[in-house]
């Protein structure tokens, strides 16, 4: 069982590693940590307390805290989507802004497992937002052209966790199996 204290320690340690601060409002922070603890109990991993998780690891991977969107959000807005991690200036000003959702809509809709059949009256939008089964998610090998970090996921990260290179610096590794005979 994950305790609140464990969730706090993990967040503090991660903030320190990446040069971030935790939310300056003690009550708000407590609520976020409580949400993370609850999600870890519920799903087996600490998915973002402010996003709807599907409960399927493959689908929720990008929103497990610290989520894929944290680094670009802190860089652009001074805080991550839920407000757990903040930049030094935001920590000092104590004014954490609401951060718009960066997670693509296509991924958001996957959390809604039950997919209704699109009817003739509905907008075509419905067809494009239907949930994908976990088995349809195709993972690939990506490498950071700057530092060589390799990751096996659906998409490369927004920012390389090792050298902080941007997503564009990642390239797919194509594996070829040649039969020799």
């Amino acid at each position: 069982m994950t305790t609140l204290e464990k969730a706090r320690q993990r967040a503090e340690s991660d903030a320190k590693t990446y040069g971030y601060f935790l939310n300056p409002d003690p009550e708000f922070l407590q609520n976020l940590l409580e949400g993370l603890r609850e999600n870890e109990e519920r799903y087996g991993y600490p998915s973002c307390p402010c996003r709807l998780a599907s409960g399927k690891l493959e689908i929720d991977r990008d929103i497990i805290c610290p989520c894929d969107y944290r680094d670009p959000d802190v860089a652009e807005y001074g805080a991550c989507y839920c407000g757990l991690y903040v930049r030094k200036d935001v920590y000092e000003s104590k004014a954490v802004p609401p951060v718009p959702e960066r997670r693509p809509l296509e991924k958001q809709t996957r959390s809604y497992a039950f997919t209704s059949q699109p009817t003739a009256e509905k907008e075509p939008q419905v067809a494009t937002t239907s949930a994908k089964a976990p088995s349809e998610i195709r993972k690939k090998l990506w490498y950071c052209r700057q530092c060589g970090y390799v990751v096996f996921r659906e998409d490369p990260p927004y920012v390389c966790p090792i050298c902080k290179a941007k997503k564009e610096m990642f390239a797919e590794i194509s594996v070829q199996v040649a039969e020799q005979g």
């Binding site: 708000f28 609520n31 976020l32 409580e34 949400g35 993370l36 609850e38 999600n39 307390p49 402010c50 996003r51 709807l52 998780a53 839920c82 407000g83 609401p98 718009p100 959702e101 809509l105 958001q108 809709t109 959390s111 809604y112 497992a113 039950f114 997919t115 209704s116 939008q125 419905v126 937002t129």
Partner: protein
């Protein structure tokens, strides 16, 4: 779907919130309406069953929004995504 009604003195607008039980911004939003004595209803979407979740998804998307919480729907026509205090105050005239 478990809709919770929180009574308040101000009932000028119908305020409905799709929230998550784990979300700190949603808690803050609920508290904001309580502090301002605005009557509202809410549903914690993460505690709903799959069928209800899907209906909620379609409802939020019908406003053209992203699936972010809190999704605050005022008078069943205006969607405010996230705890945007100024936008809420402006829409409700409080």
């Amino acid at each position: 779907m478990n809709v919770v009604k929180v009574p308040g003195k101000i009932k000028t607008n119908k305020v409905f919130i799709y929230a998550l039980s784990t979300c700190a911004w949603c808690k803050m939003t609920k508290q904001f309406f309580k502090d301002n004595s605005v009557e509202f209803e809410y549903v914690d979407v993460d505690l709903c069953d799959d069928e209800d979740k899907d209906k909620i998804k379609e409802h939020i998307l019908s406003f053209g929004g992203s699936l972010s919480y809190p999704a605050i729907i005022i008078d069943n026509k205006t969607l405010i995504t996230g705890f945007r205090k100024d936008k809420i105050k402006e829409t409700l005239g409080i």
